[in-house]
């Protein structure tokens, strides 16, 4: 492996590895890193192929980023026109395929021209961007503070208090025509309920429920019309907490 083609070998290896870890269903921490590099690789390589005379590092970076974004837009449309499903395998194939093809083209061109790879930031811009320890520390601190700001905002959403709620529903099943009754507890804590059913106005045997936060309870009723469900939140029996009802002219969803 020659050093001037190191970028080609790196991108080629990333493309192969990304496909491999997808095949073995690796954890997100692994797929995320490889996936991000694989996503950027076609843009970098196509940028090298197409826009060699880009004058500044910013311009070369912009062209590479733009091409990286172009590949899924146009490639995805071509895959769709080829009647291929746009799933994980297709996207991996597209990005890895473009990467490997561009690697090959660049390899051939470099061998033919015996030219040095035009790496980002070379040669003049790199010299100007060399940072002294003080500014480098300030930039690093800025990144940390900004990351802390986002973390603080995320923590803010986690601690934000919303009023808890309980969902009660009664819907006809589209297939069996039977009524389906359900309760979901989102009160933020384990909650006790009493469920009372009325059929043609006649009260049926009440049912006590204790649901953990996030727990859902369901049951199927043998009735199809004229059903009302009252849900009480214990220990308060005096007030109907939730109410649903289906009369004679019920509607069937679906």
């Amino acid at each position: 492996m020659s050093r001037r083609n190191a970028d080609l070998w790196v991108t080629f290896t990333v493309a192969v590895l990304a496909c491999a870890v997808a095949a073995v269903r690796a954890p997100v921490a692994v797929t995320a890193g490889l996936g991000l590099v694989l996503f950027a690789a076609p843009g970098y390589l196509l940028g090298q192929l197409l826009a060699r005379p880009g004058r500044t590092a910013l311009e070369r970076l912009a062209v590479s980023a733009g091409l990286a974004l172009c590949v899924p837009v146009i490639g995805g449309l071509l895959l769709y026109l080829a009647r291929l499903p746009l799933n994980r395998a297709s996207w991996l194939g597209l990005l890895a395929g473009v990467t490997v093809a561009a690697d090959g083209l660049l390899f051939v061109r470099r061998r033919r021209n015996a030219e040095a790879p035009a790496r980002l930031g070379r040669p003049r811009e790199t010299a100007r961007w060399r940072l002294q320890p003080g500014p480098a520390a300030a930039f690093a601190l800025a990144v940390l503070v900004a990351a802390g700001a986002v973390a603080l905002a995320r923590e803010g959403t986690a601690v934000q208090r919303y009023p808890g709620f309980t969902q009660l529903w009664l819907v006809p099943d589209a297939h069996t025509q039977a009524l389906s009754l359900g309760v979901a507890n989102n009160e933020g804590a384990t909650t006790r309920y009493q469920l009372v059913l009325l059929h043609h106005g006649t009260r049926l045997a009440p049912r006590k429920l204790t649901l953990r936060n996030g727990q859902v309870w369901r049951m199927s009723l043998r009735f199809t019309t004229n059903v009302t469900a009252h849900l009480y939140r214990l220990p308060d029996f005096s007030r109907i907490y939730r109410e649903v009802s289906i009369g004679r002219d019920r509607s069937v969803p679906g």
Binding site: A62, G66, L69, L144
Partner: protein
């Protein structure tokens, strides 16, 4: 092209950077009192202060003045040092200018992330979240999106996000933030490159970007997870391609740029309708001006790109997205009708929407005056020094659109919305003209007046930037995130609404025609994948369900009715309770509770869902 014609104080620095750096490095930066690394740190602290203000809002301190003041203090820490450094009279290196441009863009994007750091909450972002989810679930393009039917016909953003989500395993939200962030930064960076290339001065480029950042949509529609954000990046890259193709320095390397131009044109057309039309118009304008000024090389290459863009737009419009006409036509007709009424001597009636506090309006008026005054100075500068330069002349012509959007904003119904959307594009040439004006005004001032002129320009830029923040998005009534707000935007997206929408999808299935209020509309259409109908105010604004209502329900094929009893608790934050609300801006009292609870008393209308604040009823409109 000659950048030496512009009299700016740092022009010698620009010229010195064209030559190899033989002198002491960072000569300009050393001369400055505020290094860019310190400005970066200040901006990061600004983001932290804004995040703290947002957290205060979420934890119940939204009414306390200090949270609001902290927000503005944070914004000042981001904006003011960058503006001071860019408009200061001390030398500024090209690399420092790039850092400043990137800083302000990234810092404002982080502020946007901090507003909704866990999930998308803005209506337009939810629309594209749904389209992306549909693409990931079906593996197909052009699926149905009930909220924004035209969006799947322009699937560029969804393709990029789905690809990144698929290969990384990250969620749509995280990948959406990455894609939107990269696209936004790319757009601003290329804009800076173009301004710098056209003017020949990196400082003018930086100041122009700063003016562009004062566009009210810079921190919202230009950087949100919406299709325009991505299309803008392709749009700018196509313009950069046009510039490079027209340059004699590109001789021998045009093939690569031409391929790049072809790809970015296609990507623009696939990604966003309006941006692709603006691209055609922009290239055509540059081509015509180049022809008029005798620049044949430029005219030829821009003609090639303009023709290619027009062809791609027409092909996409007829083959893939014919419904774009019906989507855009009402907006165009409304604008033309308003302008026609104005020209005919009558007066068009602007939308009776909510108006902001007096201070906001005063700031807006001052900003309009400032920009309106700067543009003629920019034109004068163009007339004196840039008459033979097609790109500058084209931008001078296009910047006149600024006055058009001011008129539209003041006279056309829904004009604020239209003017705001147009400002994304109009601000590109307008910002450049303003930057030329600043260079002219500060460059011609002498000695002690130079300092006064620089200070005046700094005040102008800050005035415009804070106007963009004050009168942009989020609006004043939702500046800080917090508890549920009736008919709000982000603050109408809470756990109960999301749980109810998800319940609707799981139990009722997708695509049911629903009546709902404006706050729940995007939640129901995105999380719920339902088909919410806009013209439903009549179902909520009378104490009785009349036969005429029943007939209209049948005509509209409405199957379910979403009733949020909180509509009777307070006035609508956005000025209207319903997506199409005939009484928008005219409410003086909340909706009567009886108008909302009438369905609970009707045995013929099943109440199939109850979560306390929200109830869902079955109407007969969907019955076959």
């Amino acid at each position: 092209m000659s950048g030496t014609a512009v009299r700016v104080s740092e022009e010698r620095v620009v010229r010195s950077q064209a030559a190899p750096a033989t002198g002491p490095r960072h000569a300009g930066a050393q001369a400055s009192l505020i290094p860019v690394s310190v400005i970066a740190l200040t901006a990061a602290i600004g983001v932290l202060v804004v995040a703290a203000a947002y957290t205060a809002g979420r934890t119940g301190h939204i009414g306390s003045g200090w949270a609001d003041r902290a927000y503005w203090a944070g914004q000042a820490l981001i904006v003011v040092p960058v503006a001071v450094r860019l408009l200061g009279r001390r030398p500024l290196t090209a690399s420092d200018t790039v850092v400043l441009v990137v800083l302000v863009t990234v810092a404002e994007y982080l502020v946007k992330i901090c507003y909704s750091p866990a999930a998308f909450t803005f209506a337009d972002e939810l629309e594209h979240w749904r389209s992306t989810l549909n693409l990931l679930q079906t593996g197909k393009l052009f699926t149905v999106n009930y909220l924004l039917p035209v969006s799947p016909r322009y699937p560029g953003l969804e393709e990029v996000t789905a690809a990144l989500s698929s290969v990384t395993g990250l969620s749509i939200f995280v990948t959406g933030l990455i894609v939107a962030g990269i696209a936004h930064l790319l757009f601003v960076s290329v804009l800076f490159l173009l301004f710098r290339e056209v003017s020949g001065s990196h400082r003018i480029g930086g100041v122009a970007v700063l003016y562009y950042a004062s566009n009210p949509l810079f921190t919202s529609f230009d950087s949100m997870f919406v299709y325009q954000t991505l299309a803008l990046a392709f749009f700018a890259l196509t313009l950069l391609t046009a510039w490079r193709l027209s340059s004699r320095e590109t001789d021998g390397h045009r093939a690569g740029w031409l391929v790049l131009g072809g790809l970015t044109i296609l990507a623009t057309v696939i990604t966003h309708h309006v941006t692709s039309y603006v691209l055609v118009a922009t290239l055509a304008l540059i081509c015509l001006v180049a022809l008029a000024t005798g620049q044949r090389l430029m005219a030829g290459w821009t003609a090639v790109l303009a023709a290619g863009s027009a062809l791609a737009v027409a092909a996409w419009l007829f083959l893939a997205a014919p419904q774009t006409w019906s989507y855009l036509l009402p907006y165009a007709q409304g604008t033309l009708h308003g302008l026609w009424a104005l020209l005919g001597g009558g007066h068009a009636s602007p939308a009776a929407a909510t108006v902001g506090p007096l201070g906001n309006q005063a700031l807006s008026a001052a900003a309009v005056l400032a920009m309106s005054a700067l543009l003629p100075v920019g034109w004068w500068c163009v007339w004196r020094r840039w008459r033979g330069h097609p790109w500058t002349i084209a931008m001078a012509i296009a910047s006149a659109g600024w006055y058009v959007i001011v008129v539209v904003r003041l006279t056309v119904p829904d004009g604020s919305e239209l003017a705001g959307r147009a400002s994304t594009f109009i601000f590109v040439p307008a910002a450049y003209m303003a930057a030329l004006a600043v260079a002219q005004l500060t460059g011609t001032a002498v000695r002690w007046r130079a300092r006064t002129a620089a200070a005046a320009m700094l005040v102008t830029v800050l005035l415009l930037m804070f106007d963009g923040l004050v009168n942009g998005w989020p609006p004043y009534w939702e500046r800080l995130p917090g508890a549920h707000q009736v008919a709000g935007s982000e603050r109408s997206v809470g756990p109960e609404e999301i749980a109810t929408a998800r319940w609707a999808l799981a139990v009722l299935g997708p695509g049911n025609r629903f009546a709902t209020d404006v706050g729940s509309y995007p939640v129901l259409g995105s999380y719920g994948d339902q088909n919410p109908i806009r013209d439903v105010a009549y179902l909520y604004t009378s104490p009785r369900y009349r036969p005429a209502d029943s007939a209209q329900v049948a005509a509209q094929q409405i199957k379910y009715l979403w009733v949020d009893r909180r509509l009777s608790w307070s006035l609508p934050a956005i000025g209207q309770y319903f997506p199409d609300d005939p009484r928008a801006g005219k409410y003086h009292h909340p909706l009567p509770a009886a108008d909302l609870s009438k369905y609970a008393r009707m045995s013929s209308i099943p109440r199939i869902y109850d979560s306390g604040d929200i109830a869902i009823y079955t109407l007969s409109g969907g019955q076959s």
